[in-house]
């Protein structure tokens, strides 16, 4: 019979200890974690960035990734877009009783691969198992600490009129890839999630220029929501061009079918940068050399007009408001 996670795996007893040492500590192998003390203890002598996020994606395996990869990328990207170099992550698992042990191993493997790629270490963790039905297969929380190099000041409130807006690649890939496997909607597509750790890309951008004013990864709520957040926080207007925004055919097709707008669909491996006009080309060039920024484009600019509002020039040359996402994305009915 297939090995499954039992309630006892979360009890703190022998079974729990075996699960942790055999599957987590050895797989995620690093000295801080291996100490097995109540806290990871370390020295840091820099400005710090600290963030947390919980991951409840359904299904836990999707084309291009899984909940483990997502849990590393999401938190790493929140650190990276603050201008920080990610150092350490915590990893807390809430497991539904009955989860196949192999599924868990697969998730831990992808946490290992992704954290290695991102250059972060998992230094502390926790495991809980709850009764069947009290969680859906597996929930993960990760918190992360990163160090911010001297002289870097990136914030959603730093955008200035004249700045250029760079998008690192196609939008909507993650949201549509996950939806394509969701029960009740399932459709077949070759599309994969864009889920990726962006710390390396951000480091390359900062090497090209320190004149990066705002950075954010447009996850839930999509590109439209991120741009609105910038406009609101910086009290500036934003103007973008529809024809400049890259959208894969598969994403566009699925959006047509489901009644979604790609501008609002989630990404997990993209970033939006607001940068000083004079350095925009330099930063763009650096981005295009990186595997996660090869499709980067300038999609618009920051203006003094209509503060707090995002306006898009449509394919027809007309302009329209791009608002924040309201409520859930709902399917069309006719």
């Amino acid at each position: 019979m297939e090995d499954k996670i039992l309630l006892a795996h979360g009890s703190g007893g022998k079974l729990a200890r075996d699960l942790i040492t055999k599957n987590f500590v050895s797989a995620l192998d690093n000295p801080l974690l291996a100490q097995m003390d109540d806290s990871a203890v370390f020295d840091v002598k820099h400005r710090l960035a600290f963030t947390t996020d919980s991951y409840v994606v359904n299904p836990i395996f999707f084309p291009g990734g899984d909940i483990g990869k997502l849990a590393v990328c999401g938190t790493v990207n929140d650190l990276a877009t603050s201008g920080a170099r990610p150092l350490y992550l915590s990893l807390a698992l809430i497991i539904e009783e009955g989860l196949p042990l192999n599924d868990l191993k697969q998730v831990i493997d992808s946490i290992k691969i992704t954290s290695d790629e991102a250059g972060v270490k998992i230094v502390t963790g926790d495991t809980k198992v709850v009764n069947r039905g009290s969680a859906d297969k597996l929930f993960i929380n990760t918190s992360g600490i990163g160090i911010i190099p001297e002289g870097i000041n990136i914030s959603g409130s730093n955008a200035k009129p004249g700045d250029k807006i760079i998008l690192s690649g196609t939008i909507g890939d993650h949201g549509i890839a996950v939806l394509s496997k969701r029960e009740g909607i399932a459709f077949s597509t070759n599309l994969e999630s864009d889920c990726a750790p962006l710390a390396g890309l951000v480091a390359d951008m900062l090497k090209a220029s320190r004149n990066i004013h705002s950075l954010r990864d447009p996850t839930r709520g999509g590109l439209a929501t991120t741009l609105n957040e910038f406009a609101e926080q910086s009290k500036v207007g934003i103007r973008i061009e529809e024809t400049k925004i890259p959208v894969r055919d598969e994403v566009m097709g699925a959006c047509e079918m489901l009644g979604f707008d790609p501008l609002y669909v989630a990404n997990e491996g993209k970033l939006v940068a607001i940068v000083a006009r004079e350095d925009a080309e330099k930063i763009l060039k650096a981005m295009r050399k990186h595997r996660y920024g090869k499709d980067a484009v300038i999609i618009g600019e920051v203006i003094a007009d209509h503060p707090g509002r995002v306006v898009m020039k449509t394919v027809l040359g007309s302009s329209r408001i791009v608002d924040m996402l309201v409520g859930d994305l709902l399917p069309r009915i006719c």
Partner: protein, 364 residues
């Protein structure tokens, strides 16, 4: 051919806009019947691209929006019955009834589930044989055939606990009602694309013939809509009125006869209540006597309390094309997508939602 990008081509669109500007002499008012068109018109800024001689007004073509408050109350009353599972398309959940919405009813413990197709509703019925599973059937001619098929499948597969609350509406009768009322003077009708894919463009012949109004069936991409407007102006400038198709990749004069047949097999027409328009004869669909066992109205005989319409909400007038969302004192102030008062703010195809999301202050 991918059927999307070609019709979002800027050059093609600019050519059509130029042609429209050249042809358009007299002031005209065209109604886009369908909510899908309203959204596309706003999303692509089509109103701005048109000359000031061309005025587009939105019609009643949003199935969620035209569902009467009393019918939403009925769905909520069904949700509150013991053991009942309500299945519905997503948009319906947030539409306010007199006292509550399906979403609020779900929060109090009712079993209300969002499905993406009637096949999912049938699956839920199969998996819960001891509980009545009611599908809230909302939609026009586009949706009705799929619900008819689900009833036929339920019968074939012996699924005895599947029920349909049929709130379906038919489009041609309501256009007739609007034209007969004479509140809005129309110089052309942008006929719905997906509805016409089922009914065929022939369904609009009476508008051209009896009312002398040019009719053109349109698709949903910018080039489709611009071509449609171009053709309407062509007719209107020549004082012609006929039915044309600017959406030939989806629509024929006869329509989808297989779908029509299945619809007629399961449903018969009946009078239906429309928000803002009251009862319109022969504009609804109810299950035929033969399928009464699947009809939630027959099986449960629900009689909710009289409906209370939201005070100050202009959804009714907006659906008739008499008012626009910016005329409504609740719009943007009290009625927002997060806190909708009327259905036109809820549905992704509602005029108020489209104005709110994409429009500027002038509503253009």
């Amino acid at each position: 051919m991918k059927y999307i990008t070609e019709f979002r081509n800027n050059e093609l669109a600019q050519g059509l806009i130029k042609d429209i500007r050249r042809k358009s002499k007299r002031k005209v008012r065209f109604m886009e019947f369908c909510g899908g068109h309203t959204v596309a018109i706003f999303k692509y800024g089509i109103r701005q691209a048109l000359p000031l001689t061309v005025n587009l007004i939105s019609g009643p073509g949003c199935p969620v929006c035209v569902t009467a408050t009393a019918d939403i109350d009925k769905a909520i009353a069904l949700a509150l019955l013991p053991d009942v599972i309500i299945t519905s398309f997503g948009d319906m959940l947030r539409v306010p009834g007199s006292r509550s919405s399906l979403q609020q009813t779900r929060a109090t413990g009712a079993d209300v589930r969002v499905v993406y197709s009637t096949l999912d509703a049938l699956k839920i019925a199969r998996e819960n044989p001891g509980r009545p599973v009611v599908f809230i059937g909302v939609g026009f001619e586009t949706t009705a055939p799929t619900i008819a098929v689900s009833v036929l499948q339920a019968r074939e597969q012996g699924i005895k606990n599947y029920r349909v609350l049929s709130l379906h509406k038919l489009c041609p009768p309501v256009i007739k009602t609007i034209l007969d009322a004479g509140e809005v003077k129309l110089d052309g009708l942008i006929c719905p694309g997906h509805v016409s894919a089922i009914t065929g463009s022939n369904a609009w012949e009476f508008v051209a013939r009896d009312y002398g109004i040019p009719c053109v069936v349109s698709g949903f991409e910018p080039a489709d809509i611009l071509q449609c407007v171009d053709m309407l102006i062509g007719q209107s400038e020549k004082h012609e009125s006929k039915v044309e198709i600017a959406y030939k990749r989806g629509v024929t004069p006869e329509g989808n006869q297989q779908a029509q047949k299945i619809m007629q097999q399961v449903f018969e027409t009946c009078a239906a209540k429309w928000r803002g328009m009251g009862e319109v004869p022969d504009s609804g669909l109810k299950l035929r006597q033969e399928f009464a066992g699947y009809d939630a109205e027959v099986v449960f005989n629900i009689k909710p309390e009289p409906a209370i319409e939201p005070k100050g909400c202009l959804c009714g007038e907006i659906l008739r094309g008499v008012k626009t969302p910016v005329d409504c004192s609740l719009f943007r102030e009290i009625c927002t997508p997060e806190n909708p008062i009327g259905p036109c703010m809820v549905s992704s195809e509602g005029s108020c939602s489209a104005f709110y999301q994409y429009g500027d202050e002038s509503g253009r």
